[in-house]
């Protein structure tokens, strides 16, 4: 690999986005690549929008994704996925969990959650993959496994060798959750190519 890979992870505080960034960075390092990541802690974690950026390659300078944007958008929530599209490069791939978490601006304000958010994503990103990852995670026993399902979907696109991903999960995830997350990752891996690809 000569080109740096740029992955933008978006979602809502509390969804396990920071952990996903850690796993991707570790997987890249296990593949022998330099990795940098950046995320924001603090106020935004109280149910606000959360963004994590991971970059890996032979030499990586900026931890933030430079123009023209991310190669992959990994969205844990649909509205955040739609919001994240503006930072996806032309031709980039969006992998979007179709879970909807209603923001306070909709519940208490006048804003409206776009009813056709999935269709808007598909229209703006021909390479979008929309997955009901939360249903997969719940079927495995816990919604918390959603991040491993999504990482599996990302790995299914050929981003880093599968063995590096699984070793990274074993490295980063707490020991008692490792097997669950490996199972969830493999489910995501199977879903990726077929999935509900819209184009």
């Amino acid at each position: 690999m000569t080109q740096t890979m740029n992955i933008l992870i978006v979602g809502v505080g509390g969804q396990g986005i920071v952990l996903a960034g850690d796993v991707i960075g570790m997987a890249a390092r296990l593949a022998g690549l330099e990795a940098k990541a950046s995320e924001v802690h603090g106020m935004s974690q109280r149910g606000g929008s959360v963004v994590s950026e991971v970059r890996f390659g032979e030499t990586v300078y900026s931890p933030l994704i430079p123009p023209p944007g991310a190669d992959y958008l990994l969205a844990f929530e649909t509205l955040e996925g739609l919001r994240g599209l503006e930072r996806l490069r032309p031709g980039g791939v969006a992998i979007v969990n179709t879970q909807r978490i209603i923001p306070s601006s909709v519940t208490y304000g006048t804003a409206v959650y776009p009813a056709d958010a999935e269709a808007q994503i598909a229209a703006r990103c021909p390479n979008a993959v929309l997955l009901d990852a939360i249903a997969v995670a719940i079927a495995l026993g816990t919604p918390r496994a959603v991040n491993s399902v999504l990482m599996g979907a990302l790995a299914g696109h050929g981003v880093l060798p599968t063995a590096c991903w699984e070793r990274a999960i074993r490295h980063v995830v707490k020991p008692r959750f490792v097997e669950l997350n490996i199972t969830a990752f493999r489910r995501g891996l199977e879903l990726a190519p077929a999935g509900t690809r819209r184009a």
Partner: protein, 580 residues
């Protein structure tokens, strides 16, 4: 051994490896995890101070005693710690003293975006600025060496992207031969009375010259000559953005951002045709270079506010940085957690229609809709002083409430409360005691009964503390009990003196009692929408009905609901009840 670390974790590891006797600070995003990481390392010792001024004074004491200390804070914390910093610049140290100050350009979690580099210049203290986690490690080690070599505190400046960015670190050798502590025995150096301080000030000016000379030749001032048509002077995380977007440009990378290595900068300037300074926030390098007669392009092309990104740097350099047009989408602001004990307090204050002088913490979210119940917020502890000032301005104190958290009260709220009592003010102060420093991620403090490491510690008695300050009306209430809370606040507002009401309930993010989730009886609900006006993320709505006045049906997500029952208490039709 190569590690992937945040900048904060790298600083902690370097402090441990440098043999610090103590890491001390007050939590503040983005600096907080540094001491938490230090405490987790084998041989790392760290503790929370009640505020940054105390933290720096403790650090100064460690350094006076001949051992190394790391002091940590966010940018606004350095305002609080400025007093000891300016005079510690005169006294210098015995053991190395490194002060981490973490700036927050873009204000991800701050009330302003001040540029801490001003403090290095104002206090005449060297400042190092790392550009990745490896440098965070190396510069922290270097900070202790420079501190001892030049007899000065050393500031270590990070920004959010450095503190919370992750990159690889190869640590160095851990120091094993640590010096024995020695009591300070040199009053002319450590007792800053005018006669001694005049002598020390002369030494400070001389020190600035020596540090500058050192930096001119030191490897951390790095001229990278490539295409000489464009030269860029930069430091910190911006170095990475510059290398990313302008890989062929020549770069002078500064590791020491104060005092500036002017000779090295002059030499670099002479080699390039067009010279830029890429610096986030204020034109501090640019203005010093202008004063030294070195022409640069700076803030005419780069914004003086907000956080830089590779795109911002590219745009400033005149390089393409096209992004797609932004979609108009519903925002997702942070909100108080389900079950947050602050929610009922702000509901009640809004109902009472009082002016709320707020403070710094999760409860500052009380300003956000739909609660919209905060009128002022300035800095740590200001709620009490501002409430006092409003009364002095002639505003009826029966219409004003100061609201402050437990950690913030212990940080900076005690003295303004003493001031209210001393000067015969009248007013009501609510201390929202959730038993933690919540916003920065649940840190212990002197009121929680635990130290940074979780060890048992004496717990300050807030009620007794307020009484001993002379507050005649002190009481503790349950912020989940809305009617009783409202009655007690009304009583305090009517009281002809200072009242302190402590609203005590643990933060939902620390261990607490479990309560049954609430549910809305769909058949009996009249769709009045009252429960939707408390800003609880566990309650969502679905539109029902057509026509002129569409209404919303509330629904409580049993997985998110903590069972605080604030919504149930304010439902006029009593149709919200416990789930079974």
């Amino acid at each position: 051994m190569e590690l992937i670390l945040t900048g904060n974790a790298a600083i902690a590891l370097a402090a441990r490896d440098a043999g610090v006797a103590l890491g001390v600070g007050y939590p503040g995003t983005p600096s907080t995890e540094t001491l938490e990481n230090l405490a987790r390392l084998e041989g790392g010792v760290a503790q929370w101070a009640p505020n940054e001024k105390v933290a720096l004074e403790v650090g100064v004491g460690v350094a006076f005693g001949g051992r190394r200390a790391l002091v940590t804070m966010k940018h606004v914390g350095l305002n609080v710690a400025a007093d000891p910093l300016f005079t510690a610049s005169y006294t210098g140290v015995a053991g190395g003293l490194a002060v981490l100050v973490a700036d927050d350009p873009g204000m991800h979690s701050s009330q302003n975006e001040q540029d801490s580099r001003h403090y290095a210049r104002a206090a005449k203290v060297p400042m190092l600025e790392p550009s990745d986690s490896q440098e965070a490690y190396e510069f922290t080690r270097l900070a202790f060496q420079l501190s001892e070599q030049f007899d000065t505190p050393v500031l270590l400046r990070t920004t959010t992207r450095l503190s919370h960015g992750k990159s690889t670190v190869t640590p160095g050798q851990r120091e094993t031969a640590l010096p024995a502590p020695q009591p300070p025995m040199n009053p002319a150096k450590y007792v800053m009375v005018p006669a001694f301080a005049r002598v020390r000030h002369r030494l400070v000016e001389e020190r600035q010259r020596r540090v500058r000379e050192w930096a001119n030749a030191a490897p951390l001032t790095r001229a990278e000559l490539r295409d000489t048509a464009v030269g860029i002077i930069t430091s910190g995380i911006n170095y990475q953005y510059v290398r990313e977007v302008a890989p062929t440009a020549s770069v002078l990378k500064l590791g020491l951002v104060y005092p500036l290595p002017l000779e090295a900068i002059r030499a670099f300037a002479a080699r390039v045709e067009t010279l830029y300074v890429v610096e986030e926030l204020d034109p501090i390098i640019e203005e010093q270079l202008a004063a030294a007669g070195i022409a640069v392009i700076g803030k005419e092309r780069f914004p003086p506010l907000g956080e830089f990104t590779p795109a911002v740097v590219a745009t400033g350099l005149g390089l393409p940085a096209a992004e797609l047009p932004t979609l108009e989408l519903p925002t997702r602001p942070p909100a108080m957690c389900p079950g947050c004990p602050h929610r009922g307090v702000f509901w009640t204050l809004k109902k009472l229609g009082v002016t709320v002088a707020g403070d710094i913490g999760c409860y500052t979210l009380g300003v956000a809709p739909p609660l919209s119940a905060m009128d002022t917020c300035v800095c740590m502890g200001a709620s009490i002083g501002v409430a006092h000032g409003l009364e002095r301005a002639g505003i009826n104190p029966a219409t004003v409430v100061g609201v402050i958290g437990d950690s913030t009260f212990l940080h900076s709220g005690i003295t303004p409360l003493l001031d209210m009592v001393y000067n015969g003010s009248r007013g009501t102060i609510l201390i929202l005691d959730n038993g933690t420093t919540a916003m920065t991620g649940r840190q212990e403090h002197a009121g929680t009964g635990k130290t940074l490491t979780g060890a048992e510690a004496p717990r300050v008695d807030l009620e007794a503390l307020c009484r001993v300050l002379g507050v005649p009306d002190v009481d503790v209430i349950d912020p989940y009990a809305l009617d009783a809370m409202e009655a007690r606040i009304k009583q305090a507002l009517a009281f002809e003196g200072v009242s302190v009401i402590i609203a005590r309930r643990p933060c939902m993010l620390i261990p607490h009692e479990d309560y049954p989730a609430q549910q809305v009886n769909e058949e009996l609900c009249k769709l009045c929408g009252r429960c939707l006006r408390i800003g609880c993320p566990a309650i969502t709505k679905t539109p029902v009905g057509e026509g002129e006045q569409p209404r919303s049906r509330p629904e409580i997500n049993a997985l998110l609901c903590e069972g605080c029952a604030v919504c149930a208490q304010l439902c006029p039709f009593a149709v919200i009840t416990n789930t079974v």
